[in-house]
Each structure stands twice: as structure tokens, then as C-alpha cells.
Symmetry: C2
Subunit: 256 residues, 2 copies
């Protein structure tokens, strides 16, 4: 027998299932994007043009996933008219897919540099930095997605904090590579390919940070973008800004 | 006397006013962002570090505008539960602000390069290209916003098409600057500053293209992202793909 209560319950269950489904699609897309980053870095370091080509081909799949998730979000907005935390979930998902798709784009750019280096010959410098920064941003992407999966604002905060480390290491690597180019101008074109790859990795870190900020918005209901790490930390940990400062949160110029 | 009809009418008018307001806020943000791009390019070309500093300071205003527009969109979604073209408008706006904010970020990066060049001394090459590509991407941003203001899918299409021209000119400029660096290695650091600025301009072109694609989605209801220019053109002009090919639409590798 269907009564109003069971109907409401049913509708609500169905709605929950839809929300859960779109969230799982986002996480699946995230898993593929993470693999793309990994493969692109490996292709560059190991001069594997076949793997690089594969990364470029898989990108179309990622674009298709973005389109599908977007359609699901629009459908849910139109038919379910979500409110409060359900609405925040849909907004966070529909923004996170943009960042995931761009991470996919950056992976494709790295793959293109890998192919270029296979053709032009290896760069004399920069592979250690690509591997090191590559490992770190891949971890950031994974942690940002884990934070999304577990509604974990603290993990998301740590990803956002880590982005400063990436920015610093990227700048150091850049300075060293520019110095090297001045010493050996014949290597400029090849070293530049590595620099572009590092640049893409740094951008991937930024996108992972964006996703983390969306997780914090989702879980805490606060828009922490452009807030600065100190205030963001205070917001997530529920402490006053002064406490966050005392806790020795990594300083920042917000000059990224 | 309030009757149901006048109430409905009133609510609908109020809703329309809200939609119109958030759209006008987007366009105002777009106007400021366009000015930022212009000022950043001028600062770089004229070695005006004061103007560059100003660009960096105005960026906070743009971030604030993004936050406000986002809040308006969430409020409308939660309270008005828009459907069909109203929903598409809100989605297009909430995605376009992301691109506008990133254009603002790129302008800030150009301003930072301008300050660096003021300190290190002028680059021996690249200013002509910065001015030329800078003018073109500023026009793209303006046209993308005009297309948004007028719901003009054809103008939006022309912006998306133009992005290929920018990509081509950017690549040509890059090749020439790399050649120059090899001839004069002492200039590497300064020429690289110009290259980064050109890179930012190229990215601004991509974001203008993204906004245009959102305008097409808004007006035509079709998601034209990643579609390739030929299919996009056919979609907007309502012709078959074969016709678009005959009409000699600029070819593309979709290799951006």
C-alpha cells in the first residue's frame, strides 16, 4: 500500500540514490584524471611516446565524463530542486568537474611535451624535479578526491595548505633551469619543454586546491576561496584567526 | 487589492528582476576584468610599475565580485528553483564567473611580469607580440561579454573561432622568442618574462572561448564544449556539418 509517508520516503530514497550516483561519477572521473597525471609524468620521464599518445586519446573520455556529470547536475537541479546541503553538493560537483577536466587538459599538455622530447632528444636537466613535483601533485589530486568522498574538511584543508609547498618548489626548479639554459643555450628548447611540464604540474596543484576549497564549502557551508590560508584554517578548525597564527600555520603572501 | 493573479505577476516580476540583476553584476565584473587585461598589457609595454601594482590591488575586488555573484546564484537556485532557460542562465552565469575570475588572475600575472621587467630591465624582444595578441584577446573578452549581454550565439561563435587565431599567433611568437634566446642567452630571464605574459594572454583567449561556449549553451541549449569548431558552427547556424565544411570554416586539430 502506498501512503503519503512511504511515497515521500521513496521519493527521498530515489533522490538520495541520484545524488550518490552523480557523486560516484565525479569520483570515477577523478580516478581516471589521477591516472592521466601519473601516466603523463611517467611518459615524460621514461621517454615513452606510446604512453603519451595514450594519455592524449583518453582525454576525450574525460571530456565526455564532464558532459555527462554536468547533465546529471542540471537534471537534478531542474527536477529535484535541492536545497541546503543537497544544493551545496550539486554546486560543488558541478564546479569540481571543471577543475578535473582542466587537470586532464594539463596532463594532455605534459603528454605533448613528452612526445616533443622524444623527438628532439632528452632535456639535460629537470627530470628529478618533474618526478618529485609530479608525485606530490598526484597525491594532492588523490587527497582532494578522498576528501570529497569522505566529506573530510580537514584533509581538504591540508591539500590547500600543501599547494604553497608546490608553488615554492616550482619556483626553485624554474630558477635552476633558467640558470642552466644560460649556461647551455643549445638546450633551451628541450629545457623549455620540461619547464612547460612543470608549469602544468603547478597548475594541477592549483586545481586540486580549488577542489579542496569546494569540499570545505560543501562540508562547512563557507566559501573559503581567496581567503588566505590562515583564515581558511581558522574557518575549518573552528578557531579564531589568532589561534591559527599561534599554531604556526605556514605563512603566505597569497601571491600565487 | 492583491489577488492571486497580481501576486503571481508580482512574484514573476520580482524573479525577473533578480535574474536581470545577477546578469548585470556578471557584466559589470566582466567590464572590470576587461579593464584589468588592458591595464596589465599597458603596464608591461610601457614599463609602468605603478599601473601594474594597481592591477594587482584591484584583483581583490574581482574576487569579491565572484563571491557575491556566486551567492546570488545559490540564493536564486534555492528560493526560485528556476527551470529551462532560467536555469540555463543561472548555470551559465555561475560558470562564467569562474572564467572571469581566472582572466583576472592572468591579468595579475601579467602585471607581476611587468613589475619584474621594470626591475630587471626591458626585454630585447616580444613587446610587439604582447601588444598585438593583447589587443586581440581583449576584444575576445569584450565580444564574449557582449554576446552574453545580447544573447547573441553568432557573436559567441565568432569568439570561439577566433581562439584558433590566437593559438597560432602565440605559437609563432614563442618560436621566434626561443630562437632569440638562443642567440642572446643573457636575455633569457627577461625574454621569459615576456613569454609568460604571452602565455597568460593565450589563456585569457581560452577563457573567453569558454564564456562564449556558455553563451551558446544559454541561447541554444546545447553543450558545445569539446565539440570541435565545425560541429559547433553547424550547431549554432543550424546547418549540417557538411555545409559548415563547405562554408570553409577554419580547420582545426582541436589540439589546443
Amino acid at each position: 500500500m502506498i501512503n503519503k509517508e512511504s511515497l515521500t520516503h521513496h521519493i527521498s530514497q530515489q533522490f538520495n540514490a541520484e545524488l550518490e550516483e552523480v557523486r560516484s561519477h565525479l569520483l570515477a572521473m577523478g580516478g581516471l584524471v589521477e591516472k592521466q597525471v601519473n601516466d603523463a609524468v611517467t611518459a615524460l620521464i621514461e621517454a615513452d611516446s606510446g604512453l603519451a599518445q595514450q594519455v592524449r586519446e583518453v582525454d576525450e573520455q574525460i571530456n565526455q565524463m564532464e558532459r555527462n556529470i554536468d547533465e546529471e547536475c542540471v537534471r537534478i537541479l531542474a527536477r529535484r530542486q535541492p536545497a541546503a546541503s543537497d544544493l551545496r553538493l550539486i554546486i560543488s560537483i558541478s564546479k569540481s568537474v571543471i577543475d578535473l577536466e582542466r587537470i586532464g587538459d594539463e596532463a594532455t599538455k605534459i603528454a605533448r611535451r613528452a612526445i616533443q622530447l622524444c623527438e628532439e632528444g632528452e632535456s639535460p636537466r629537470g627530470y628529478v624535479e618533474v618526478r618529485h613535483i609530479g608525485d606530490q601533485v598526484r597525491n594532492m589530486v588523490r587527497d582532494a578526491l578522498d576528501a570529497f568522498a569522505r566529506f573530510d574538511a580537514d584533509l581538504a584543508l591540508s591539500v590547500a595548505q600543501y599547494d604553497k609547498t608546490i608553488d615554492r618548489e616550482y619556483k626553485t626548479a624554474l630558477r635552476e633551469l633558467v640558470t642552466y639554459m644560460m649556461e647551455d643555450p643549445r638546450s633551451i628548447s628541450r629545457v623549455l619543454s620540461v619547464i612547460w611540464a612543470l608549469r602544468s604540474l603547478e597548475r594541477i596543484g592549483d586545481h586540486a586546491r580549488n577542489i579542496s576549497e569546494l569540499v570545505i564549502y560543501l562540508v562547512r557551508g563557507t566559501d573559503v576561496r581567496h581567503m588566505g590560508l590562515k583564515r581558511m584554517t581558522a574557518e575549518v578548525q573552528g578557531t579564531a584567526v589568532a589561534d591559527a597564527e599561534k599554531a604556526n600555520v605556514p605563512g603566505e603572501s597569497d601571491d600565487k
